[in-house]
Amino acid sequence: MERDGERIEITISSRFENIELVQVIAEHLCENAGLDEDGSHWIGMAVREAVANAIKHGNKLDARKKVNATFQLHDSELRIHISDEGEGFDPKTIGDPLNPQNLMKTSGRGIFYMKTFMDQVQYEFQPGGGTSLMMTKNLAKGSGLASSKI
């Protein structure tokens, strides 16, 4: 594929209005890589959730703190890396939103959506603070939710 080895990087300050900037990059990249509108949309949504968490829970809406996103395309694998300057968290403590006692909660579905739309979702925490999230998606396998998960 001609776009192999592609790497795009974007840095934003921690404002909700900027989420969309990272989301459109993700969607455009996916469409450039030949994914259909739906497939691109679901990946864009995973990115939206990841960036929202980085801004809200990571950087706690401090606009001086940055969120960095990189997109890499190798063969047909898209790797998305999103990092913030926050204090991290323990992914093991995150509840399952499908658990009946969580069903009616007003939050707690962001990571679940990321896992639904992406093949892999993996957190790493830097010693100096900061959350680093790596998500991957094989674009050749069929796009997102409708075709692969339902």
């Binding site: 909700f16 989420i19 939206r48 069903l103 009616m104 707690g108 579905r109 679940f112 339902i150």
Partner: protein, 111 residues
């Protein structure tokens, strides 16, 4: 997000248009529901066909709206779900919580 409402046979039909996402639309939705309830409305039908984007915060706010209305003895139902919103409610099993209609008349009658 924009909202406009009309009353049909005692049912408050609120049409939501645009984004219901974190920081834009999510709080608005809460305010809309709160104000409808404060005006004594207890039968609320959200017309969703104009919702262009929703994220987990928007979904959470829909759940919160449902709970708020139900706790006050009212009913909140959904009309005309866009395909993507439908899928988001499906994967989170919230589709089992909401009554969803494809026809306004039918939806209004169901209250």
């Amino acid at each position: 997000m924009k909202a406009s409402s009309k009353t049909i046979d005692g049912v408050e039909v609120i049409k939501l248009d645009g984004k219901i996402t974190i920081g834009s639309g999510d709080q608005q939705l809460r305010e809309i529901i709160t104000s409808a309830i404060n005006q004594g409305k207890s039968k609320i039908l959200l017309e969703m066909s104009g919702v262009t984007t929703i994220d987990s915060s928007g979904i959470g706010e829909l759940v919160g709206s449902y709970t708020t209305v139900t706790n006050r003895g009212g009913k909140l139902k959904l009309l005309h779900l866009p395909a993507k919103l439908n899928e988001l409610l499906h994967v989170t099993q919230l589709i089992t919580v909401f009554e969803v209609y494809e026809n306004e008349q039918e939806a209004v009658k169901s209250f």
